[in-house]
Point group: C2
Chain length 442, copies 2
């Protein structure tokens, strides 16, 4: 049994060395807080945490005064291999991956916020930590300050998660908000976001859904005890959302949100997990509809717990640093008191389902013949595919011989929903299928 050193010992004699890889927005806040609140960190972890090196690419770049100049080095390998705790905040795949593997090999515990790396190489990093007998933590990789990784990995350890629905990318959420509140086009809203520094010059990772997809892969891996990589996620970004789409969503009492969705199916037709990122209509009274700007929120549904929601700042230096530092305290406490971070849990090995097996709802706008029997025929097309209809709304009269009808279905598999839409395109009562959108959140 581990010796019981009370964590309330105020002046620990032990100290642990800390190396920081990267001194950008988050790194600077991590360094500032570790320094300013050193006594708190010592009391909480049981050891004084001493930063011994901060690896940066450009030694001469201007820095926040919170970053001690004498600790800066461009020898990242030395920082990665010379410390008890290594905090990786470089981002991207390389050299982050190589440095983290070197850190584990040197016996370090590693804390990172690198979602792309975990989504691509998570199992390798977990294995390296297990071999080293040290900790691998990455709370900051998903939704900034919100403890989503912990919630899924530990709070839900006694439950069966069925569904996770999240707004996990602040940039796209900001852009969609701007389009909604100001009637901007996607390009206009993107330009505004770039001017304000909310979107990068190359916005691809955000607006094409790749950042959210990496987070979705991490979420699904944890929620379902199954390895899910970036390639397992079907992804659609927000570039094609038009001002018209936004207006129509509002007319339907909805908001368009870019969602990361991890879903478990265990029914007569399919067994496995569906993981996807796409824009969807969310009813205005759903808790996710009121998540605005750079805030993130994650809704977790589990068999026993029911619905839980976690809400907070999804990015930014200080909030992300808060997540990094909770991991630092946990990893440090393990080195002092014994114990380890949870290892990879992938025992369930659920199959990854293709996008056609995803369960969603469709909102379909049709132009139909304004003739008796037309609506019944349309309803029959859905029924033939086992899709039941939740609501039918006839829009303002278009004139002539046709009417515009908006149909929202109940949840069904994309396979059946798409078959119904295909059949509608061929149906003699349907003049045109105007739009098809997914609806999420009930």
């Amino acid at each position: 049994m581990v010796p019981s050193v009370p964590s309330s010992s105020f002046a620990p004699s032990r100290s642990l060395s800390v190396g920081v890889l990267g001194a950008g927005t988050v790194g600077t806040q991590v360094i500032r807080l570790l320094t300013e609140q050193a006594d708190d960190f010592a009391a909480r972890s049981g050891a004084r945490l001493e930063i011994t090196g901060i690896a940066v690419r450009d030694l001469s770049a201007p820095r926040d005064p919170a970053v001690p100049a004498e600790l800066l080095t461009d020898d990242a390998t030395a920082v990665a291999t010379g410390n008890d705790l290594v905090i990786e905040l470089i981002g991207g795949i390389e050299p982050a991956r190589t440095l983290i593997l070197a850190a584990f090999k040197a016996g370090a515990s590693v804390i990172t916020g690198n979602k792309a790396l975990i989504a691509a190489h998570g199992p390798e990093l977990y294995a390296a930590a297990a071999t080293a007998g040290t900790d691998f933590y990455y709370e900051a990789a998903v939704a900034g300050a919100i403890p989503v990784v912990y919630a899924l990995r530990e709070s839900m350890a006694g439950d069966r998660v069925t569904n996770v629905l999240g707004i996990v990318n602040g940039t796209t959420n900001y852009i969609l908000d701007e389009m909604t509140t100001k009637g901007l086009s996607f390009d206009q809203a993107l330009a505004t976001a770039q001017e304000l520094g909310y979107a990068e010059a190359d916005p691809t990772a955000d607006v094409d859904g790749l950042d959210a997809a990496a987070k979705a892969a991490i979420i699904a891996s944890l929620a379902f005890h199954t390895r899910v990589g970036l390639d397992d996620v079907s992804v659609e970004g927000i570039r094609d959302i038009t001002a018209d789409d936004i207006r129509e969503a509002q007319a339907s009492g909805c908001q368009i949100k870019l969602l990361a969705i991890a879903q478990r199916r265990e029914d007569e037709h399919a067994r496995g997990v569906s993981v996807r990122v796409h824009p969807a209509l969310v009813p205005a009274d759903h808790p996710l509809a009121s998540v605005h700007g750079a805030f993130n929120a994650v809704l977790v549904e589990a068999e026993a717990a029911g619905r839980l929601m976690f809400y907070g700042q999804g990015a930014g230096g200080a909030p992300t640093a808060s997540a990094v530092l909770s991991d630092v305290v946990a990893a440090a406490a393990h080195r002092v008191h014994g114990g380890q971070a949870p290892r990879e849990s992938c025992y369930a090995r659920l199959p990854i389902l293709g996008p056609e097996a995803a369960i969603t709802r469709y909102q379909v706008q049709l132009e139909v013949a304004d003739a008796p029997g037309a609506l019944a025929a349309v309803a029959g097309v859905f029924g033939a595919q086992d899709v039941s209809i939740n609501s039918v709304r006839q829009n303002a009269y278009v004139g002539g011989q046709t009417a515009v009808v908006t149909i929202v279905t109940h949840p069904a598999a994309v396979f059946h929903l798409d078959a119904a839409v295909e059949a509608l395109r061929r149906d003699e009562h349907v003049a045109a299928v105007i739009s098809v959108q997914r609806v999420e959140g009930e």
Copy 2:
């Protein structure tokens, strides 16, 4: 270093014995889930969890078929002292306290949801766990399925919490909702809640705020690394809330909620923590205003993380069982892989502030002379106490020589707010102080 046994090993050879004290609503669900999902629990914790005994008071009482009759016993001490893991779900102070202490003495890890016991005897139980070198977990004690204990104890370990604001009692939240939506009196709403089983025959613990106060004490202890007991919490329940209060709140664009508040002051006038439970006006657009019925929500504000909100089911058999079982997995994993639950963290030893040092906002309704200069005089009374005014609203004209005015202040210490109200009562321009209410949430 702890040997690294991957938690993904599917068929662990090791097993751990589990004793359950109490087979009520929560206990029944815990037993059902542990049995039905035995393979999942084995894969996640690294050991098969075998229930060896279930202690109940009345062996002959009717039971859910999920509870195996052959495991029932009325020898609670034997169950407490004969297992690796002991789950205490009896509630109340005794015999729960004696049984938990006996369990620790026998080397067990203990999981409980007993908020009253922790608020009264937390330090003693933590000390017993430390002496035994085992775990003490109590996620289920606060807000059911919502991982508030973890969030404060571990996710915020790298941050400084400044404020926690929570709706943590579903019964009172349901009663206030009924009063709001149906215009019922407190007594009518309480009777409805009792009929539906949402309130007990003796509703004291809920409606007088004692249940929420125990949770507030636990929240404050964790948030501020300081021992806070039940006696340190100033408590006011909802018995005195009238249908008029509810109507006036709505007229002010607010909802009345029973809040558990834990606040840290560190300013020129005071240093310490203020912990209290009382009804307060919450602006309708504040996230806590939309928490209805038996749902709970906890808002945490921290220096680096900013504002986080956690939302979910605060009570009920299955949600509470989910919280208990996450603790069971953690405690079991520690027995298999080494490591320990966080020990009591009370190193900060912040002073407990009296209710007069709490920072809040007041909404004051006054009947003032409808004469030039009256409003200026009233504003001057607040100013003399260093209280600034956020808004002034003149209500529908009462007639005669007086007008009704509603004033909402900015945040200030109760000490100054009360002094201002006292001065108003004596002011010649004020015919009457109609009502004074606290406003929380910005």
